[in-house]
Amino acid sequence: MTERESWRLPPRAVLLAAVILLLAAEIGGASMARFKLDLARWARGQMLARPAVHGLVGVRDVDERALDEALFRFDTGLRLFHMHAEGMALVVIATTTTAATLARRPGVRRALVGALTLGGVGYPVGYLLWSALIPAWGVERSKTLVEWLIWIPFGGATIVALAGLLAVIAARIAGR
């Protein structure tokens, strides 16, 4: 078992992307707390302007329930952006550092670092986009769009790259 070797840092652009994501997460969390009422008011106004999208029928009891559900999802999207951006920024730093240190072939190293960075930084943005689209597109339609545009490609890139990184570490343990 080898130890006491040093980590090699990934390219500065990767670290910058991760730090900007952390910053966005912090600002997102702070904004959610500070502008909670303003955000809810804006989203509600947008939803009321598009009654067909949200299935509003003009009956107060029915409409309020639909609006509450959509506002809950809107808030959930913002919270999930905050949490995932915080987590994925750290995942990007940890995993790209591992790839930069342990992947010997430059092509493999570049592919792993690129996929881990793009996937890790892009995935949380999907939650922000989902929240932003809910008032105009509705909960389910915006979710489907974001799933295909962001969550599946970027999340898939991260999972595939992590599998590749595990293979690289296993190969290093096996002495290859």
């Binding site: 006491r4 995942v91 570490i169």
Partner: protein, 192 residues
């Protein structure tokens, strides 16, 4: 910063990957997972204490399915977090703990602690196969508590090392007055 042993890095990255994968499964296959869980509960009426009363049995089944979904959700969040904790804490151990045996002990504890989220997978499955209360007790007693204690002890050991141990990183530069001084242009001693 120094790198911990490859086995520790492998476990930390594997736990992060488990967190990512479980998140994708929870997100994409939630209805299918709920159906599968309900079928598992229905297949074990004795373990879940079914009475034959549809209303009561439905409530018991719903609670078991909810507990399984909660277990999978905790697996996702804790695996993402504990993988990172193991990664960064073991990097600190590699960098600041001078004694080899203490380092090995802390690596062991942190690696075991990184596996803590696996307890939630056990929790999710055991709730279905053994009944809600027995399943939770099994996961807590045999997996979550020991692995959680290992993580706490590992982090406590690292904290104690940081407080009282002799750091090996960053290297302490020599005090200026003690460092050998040479004037520019003057001949250096042969062994310098």
């Amino acid at each position: 910063m120094r790198r911990p042993p490859l086995v520790v890095v492998l476990v930390a990255v594997a736990v992060i990957a488990l967190g990512e994968a479980s998140g994708a499964i929870i997100g994409a296959l939630r209805p299918a997972v709920a159906r599968w869980a309900a079928a598992q509960v229905a297949a074990r009426p004795q373990a879940h204490g079914f009475t034959g009363s549809a209303e009561y049995d439905d409530e018991v089944r719903d609670r078991a399915v909810f507990a399984t979904e909660a277990g999978l959700s905790f697996l996702h969040t804790h695996a993402e977090g504990m993988g990172l904790v193991a990664f960064f804490a073991s990097t600190l151990v590699a960098s600041v703990v001078a004694h080899r045996r203490l380092r090995a002990l802390l690596y062991g504890l942190l690696t075991a602690g990184a596996l803590f989220p696996v307890g939630y997978l056990v929790y999710a499955v055991a709730v279905l196969t053994r009944g809600r209360e027995d399943g939770i007790a099994l996961a807590e007693t045999w997996v979550l508590t020991p692995l959680g204690v290992a993580a706490i002890l590992g982090l406590a050991g690292l904290a104690v090392s940081l407080m009282w141990g002799a750091p090996t990183w960053p290297p302490t530069p020599p005090i200026r007055s003690e460092a050998p001084r040479h004037s520019r242009g003057a001949p250096r001693p042969p062994n310098s």
